[in-house]
Amino acid sequence: MIESLIEIKEEPMRISKTTAIFLMLMVSSFLVGCSISYSTGKSSDSISASSDSISASSDGDDNTAAAAINNYAEDVAAATMHYASSTDESGQFLQTIANIARSHGIVDWEQVKLTFTAMGKGLKQAGVEEETISTLAYFDTLPKRADYLLVLKGYRQS
């Protein structure tokens, strides 16, 4: 690991407003953004960056599947919270879940238990009352399935 935390040797320079504006105007013609996404560029560095984006996604820990699943759970909770607070139809909600799963490398999201606990967490964040969960579109199909218990587990643990 390269990591080395040392005391601050040099703070960002405090520059006068005039100098700051001058510098910004100078560079404005060359600027196309605060930062270009490295992995979508045309240079060979983009190849390295696109690979590193998954190989180092867990801050030094080599278990990138664990990192991906944590992000997946957060996103599913956020999507569920949004769904419960909106007028979106259940089909759109499931499409969103499928897209989220796909972006995290998950194909069969119904087989991932964390999907349903994260949904429960999202429902809690949206302020949905527990007794009304089974009346929501899509969630009304779950009570006969074991997945529903996972939703309740995620809800109650939040």
Partner: protein, 595 residues
């Protein structure tokens, strides 16, 4: 034990509990400033970190300015190591509830952003399909179909899967499923309805066509397309006995996934069905050949990049080989989420295959970031359907209008502006929008800044204002790669000699000139008093290169001239004690393959 000893133990226990509780409660919002370098961020860059996750805004193709989430280690690797920029962090303490609120809010923003982009992509796909249907096309190109070769039938592995499905679900299950799908397709074709449960007509058509294709592939024993599977390169080692066992377990899991999805009511099950089936065939072939084989993970969205320099290719190949080996190790040791580990393995093997294609055959390298899921497109026949063109024309017009509106909305929402909508202002807006008003925000964060405050739109000033307005608990400084390496020189070496040697690009042992860094002579990020003098020398160096660029115009189409002019430009701040340029590093020069 005496009373005083008991009291001492009790007090120590209380102290330990108090410290532990405080440690558990410690959460921070970390504001990050990355100093400038040449190219797209001559003004510096800003980000925030929550835990080990960084949120920041980046510029993407098509002029979009998007919120990005990535690991701190990846962020550091890119900015601190490859781009050779120093990172400054100031940490503001947060209560756990505020930390969770902020993190949820930023995740929510990401989710909404992705939904917007998906909506746009879906509308574009819908318009594309409607155009083809109205024109009377005989087929549509649909994802995942291209992984199979329908002309090669009676594949033993596929036949085995067919038998398992029949055993577990009944001999007629696929037959009945095909009949239901055909019936739905006929209904869909005859009477197109815009939406069903929020799903557009074209998406439902696509899903049903894919299901019909899946059933056909299974029933006819279709095999994998030969060019859709990778892994049989020169030095691929054979699977060990343990690895074979794990693959056999994973094969069973894939079969269970296919059987499970066949019983699912998800309308979007068809693409996952195809992929899991393709993976099952790839795993089966791996076990048959004794070599780990994976599917081609790239989609049509991949960027082709041409790499011609041998040392770059070699360096890339070494890095990607290490990544692939690590991904293999992780997959063969993953017990909880093998699907994700397998997807990461597919992505890594695919990237290695690409670079080997460039090395041995001179092919461009397909580049696509993130965890990839194989989705190669292939043709699906629609010749047996007669679609009502008049009705579809109405859909087409509506979709065209919707697409135009979406493009405009997304263009406005995710646009970049040098002053009003940049990485600093949008980061502040994102954080501030987690709170109902500034008072609540100030109470939660301990400070408050708005994008309109002073010069906060300049990343450098953003950092300065943050340290002035927010309670800061701790600061961190990560010197750039070159500065870090300068400090590691042996103390016994003469500092003056080291300074002279490393001060310029001609004799430096720590840096190799790169075209994208523009031509320059002296490093000025670690000097101050001499900066104007060195800047003048750099300016002159840029002039010389520009003159050379004029002479080279017929040969290099102005590349040298362009770089020379840029080199002159980045020398100008140095004349007034400023610094932007620091040099950058390629991946092949990094001391580690990632952090």
């Amino acid at each position: 034990m005496s009373q005083s000893a008991v009291l001492r133990v009790f007090l120590l226990a209380c102290l330990f509990w108090a410290v532990s509780a405080q440690a558990e409660d410690e959460r921070t919002l970390d504001f990050i400033y990355v100093n400038a370098n040449t190219g797209e961020s001559a003004g510096g860059h800003t980000a925030i970190r929550l835990g080990s996750t960084v949120f920041h805004y980046q510029f993407f193709p098509q002029g979009r300015f998007l919120l990005v989430r990535e690991s701190w280690s990846h962020f550091r690797y890119i900015y601190n190591e490859l781009r050779n920029r120093s990172i400054f962090i100031v940490r503001t303490p947060l209560k756990p509830a505020v930390y969770a609120k902020l993190r949820n809010h930023l995740t929510g923003l990401l989710m909404v952003q992705q939904q917007d982009l998906n909506q746009l992509q879906d509308a574009e796909t819908q318009l594309n399909y409607l155009t083809q249907l109205i024109a009377g096309a005989d087929y549509l190109e649909i994802e995942a179909v291209g992984l199979f070769d329908r002309d090669r039938r009676n594949d033993e592995s596929m036949d085995r899967l067919h038998q398992i499905i029949q055993q577990q679900l009944g001999d007629d299950y696929l037959v009945q499923m095909r009949q239901q799908v055909e019936s739905k397709l006929v209904d869909l074709a005859v009477e197109p309805t815009r939406l069903s449960s929020g799903i557009p007509w074209v998406q439902r058509l696509q899903a049903l066509l894919l299901e019909r294709m899946f059933i056909q592939f299974v029933e006819t024993g279709a095999s994998l397309a030969e060019d859709s599977i990778f892994g049989e390169s020169v030095n691929t080692p054979e699977l060990t006995a343990n690895e074979r066992q794990i693959l056999e377990r994973y094969r069973k899991k894939l079969i269970a996934s296919v059987v499970g999805m066949l019983q699912s009511q998800r309308f979007d099950r068809s693409a996952p069905l195809m992929l899991q089936t393709a993976r099952y065939l790839a795993v089966d072939r791996s076990l048959e050949t004794g070599i780990l084989l994976t599917l081609d993970p790239f989609s049509l969205r991949a960027n082709p990049v041409t790499v011609t320099q041998k040392d770059e290719l070699h360096g890339l190949q070494v890095q990607l080989q290490q990544d692939a080996i690590q991904a293999q190790h992780n997959f063969f040791n993953e017990t909880v989420h093998p699907d994700i580990a397998y997807a990461i393995l597919e992505s890594s093997m695919g990237r290695l295959h690409e670079i080997e294609g460039a090395m041995f055959y001179g092919r461009p390298v397909r580049v696509e970031p993130g965890i990839l899921l194989p989705a190669r497109k292939g043709r699906v026949s629609i010749a047996d359907f007669s679609f009502p063109r008049a009705r579809l024309s109405v859909f087409f017009d509506e979709t065209k209008v919707k697409l135009s509106q979406l493009k405009q909305q997304i263009g406005q929402r995710y646009t970049y502006d040098l002053i009003a909508q940049n990485c600093a202002t949008e980061l502040l807006r994102a954080v501030n929008s987690a709170f109902i008003d500034p008072t609540a925000g100030q109470q939660a964060l301990g400070g408050w800044l708005t994008p309109d405050d002073g010069l906060v739109f300049i990343p450098n000033q953003f950092y300065t204002q943050i340290t002035a307005h927010f309670p800061t608990q701790k600061r961190e400084y990560f010197p750039s790669r070159r500065l870090r390496q300068l400090e590691q020189f042996d103390e016994n070496e003469y500092p003056l000699l080291i300074g002279l040697r490393e001060s310029n690009t001609l004799s430096s042992t720590l840096y190799t000139p790169r075209i994208e860094d523009t031509p320059f002579l002296f490093f000025t990020d670690d000097t101050l008093l001499l900066r104007p003098v060195q800047g003048a020398a750099n300016l002159l160096w840029g002039v010389v290169h520009s003159v050379g660029g004029v002479l080279a115009l017929p040969v290099d189409r102005g590349e040298r001239l362009h770089q020379g002019l840029r080199g002159m430009f980045y020398s100008l701040p140095e004349l007034v004690f400023g610094n932007i340029r620091k040099g950058t590093y390629g991946f092949s020069e990094t001391t580690t393959a990632g952090p």
